[in-house]
């Protein structure tokens, strides 16, 4: 345990593993071929589904999202939040689109936009958007963009993707990622809770209930599917990253999957070690949204259980439930060594994404 100097944040190199750029529908349409372009620009019905939940409570929480659209916005964010290396993604979860061909074309369009606007003329790091509706098309897209040095992983939603991400039909995606040394990043979404858990989405009466469960349920389902199908055993060189569900669910899952595995090992014979070992060897978890225990010592124990080799920092900026660096750093500075802190903020994401920075 150490007590670092307050205000020393700026002296630390920080990798932010989850920064979203906002792309409005008119803008992405320009990167689409016909008939997909017109299906977005000319349709009287919204093509992008919405759950209708009021996430920002009638404007009580400011909208940082709508204006976070250009490289200059990211640079301003870097200065304001003291983030040296933002790993940016195009946010939109592609599993929610019912038309597989539209999803595939959107995948390519988001990546073209990411390269064209954000990566080609700037030194940002980015994640390639992947739609899982047609796994062979996804694999081809991974091969297409993997040569770009600034692409450091692939970005898959866990909110509407069907079948579940570990299903063997998705193996071409994991093989392509592994062949190209790209990490696989999973990201859940509150608005898309309606696709995975429609009964609960309909039954809940306020967004408190949805937001409490949404990302965690989605990521738990993804992790369970990955382990249950032996994906980390099939691709032992692949790293898996989980964003935006906080960290408390991970110890629960490691321990519970160990228990179920030992009862039902012959059901999952691809696994040659305990689920916890696979998670600790190949999985990485971003901090945001970090839970808020009433007693800080509880968070200390949680972070210790995960360990600095698995834990990374993320802001989730510009979304309305972002974490400032201070949220993570108050625990790191108060309870952990400078070496552990450096791992969480820098070295662990460097390892997770194979960053050359």
């Amino acid at each position: 345990m150490t007590q670092a100097t307050p205000g020393s944040v700026a002296e630390t190199t920080v990798v932010d593993t989850d920064v979203h750029i906002t792309v409005d529908e008119e803008r992405i349409a320009k990167y689409l071929d016909e008939p997909y372009r017109s299906s977005i620009t000319d349709s009287p019905h919204p093509v992008f589904p919405s759950s209708s939940w009021d996430q920002r409570m009638g404007g009580k929480i400011d909208d940082h999202f709508s204006t976070f659209t250009d490289p200059e916005d990211i640079q301003q964010f870097q200065a304001d939040f003291q983030i040296e290396y933002p790993i940016i993604n195009t946010f939109e979860p592609l599993g929610k689109f019912s038309q597989p061909d539209l999803a595939v074309n959107l995948m390519r369009a988001y990546n073209d936009l990411l390269l064209d606007v954000f990566l080609d003329d700037y030194d940002f790091l980015g994640l390639a958007a992947i739609a899982t509706q047609k796994p062979q098309e996804a694999a081809a897209e991974i091969n297409r963009v993997a040569d770009e040095d600034q692409i450091v992983g692939i970005y898959i939603g866990t909110s509407g993707e069907y079948p579940p991400v570990g299903d063997p039909s998705n193996d071409p995606i994991y093989k392509a990622a592994a062949d190209n040394d790209l990490s696989v990043v999973f990201h859940g979404n509150g608005d898309e809770f309606m696709f995975d858990f429609p009964h609960h989405n309909k039954g809940f009466n306020n967004y408190f209930e949805v937001q409490t469960l949404g990302h965690a349920w989605q990521q738990m389902a993804a992790m369970s599917s990955l382990l249950g199908e032996g994906v980390p055993a099939k691709f032992p060189d692949l790293n898996f990253v989980f964003l935006e569900a906080g960290i408390g669910w991970v110890p629960y899952m490691m321990h519970r999957m160990n228990k179920i595995y030992r009862m039902r090992r012959s059901e999952v014979p691809l696994l040659e070690q305990s689920p916890e070992e696979y998670v600790r060897d190949q999985f990485y978890v971003a901090s945001q949204p970090l839970g808020e225990p009433n007693n800080g010592d509880d968070m200390k124990r949680l972070i210790e259980t995960l360990g600095a080799d698995m834990l990374m920092f993320a802001t989730d900026y510009p979304h309305w439930d972002f974490d400032h660096l201070e949220e993570m750093d108050k625990y790191l500075q108060h309870y952990f060594t400078p070496e552990e802190r450096r791992k969480v903020l820098y070295e662990t994401p460097v390892e997770a994404f194979g960053l050359n920075i």
Partner: protein
């Protein structure tokens, strides 16, 4: 430590087992492929009566990365003991737990002597 005769040599066929009490401990004698194995009836998980569980085979899998196929094989038929409480698997010939590395059934030396099966505790 003492020697105890727990069965006659012609008493068990391959695949049979016999549960006996020796010095207050429940000991299970298994015969697999002509060999005898003796274990304490105690699962390393939660102390369940592992040696009273079903004897089956188990699944193995191999993954072919080139064509992304998984091959499932049923193997070790008659050699896998399943604890009846929670299904922890033990390899009867070695006593090794298949469910958790580094865990095993408490084993006891067993030998055939003058037509008897003798276990040392």
């Amino acid at each position: 430590m003492g020697d105890h005769t727990i069965a006659a040599v012609d008493e068990l066929e391959d695949g049979d087992r016999k549960l006996v009490e020796v010095e207050g401990r429940e000991i299970a004698l298994f015969r697999v492929n002509g060999d005898y194995h003796a274990y304490t009836n105690w699962c390393a998980h939660q102390g369940g009566p592992a040696c009273e569980g079903s004897v089956t085979g188990t699944a193995e899998a191999t993954f072919e990365r080139d064509d992304l196929t998984v091959s499932l094989d049923w193997c070790k038929e008659g050699e896998v003991l399943n604890c009846p409480w929670h299904g922890w698997e033990y390899d009867i010939p070695t006593g090794d737990c298949l469910s958790k590395d580094g865990t095993r059934l408490p084993s006891h030396p067993v030998r055939v002597e003058n037509g008897s099966v003798v276990v040392s505790l």
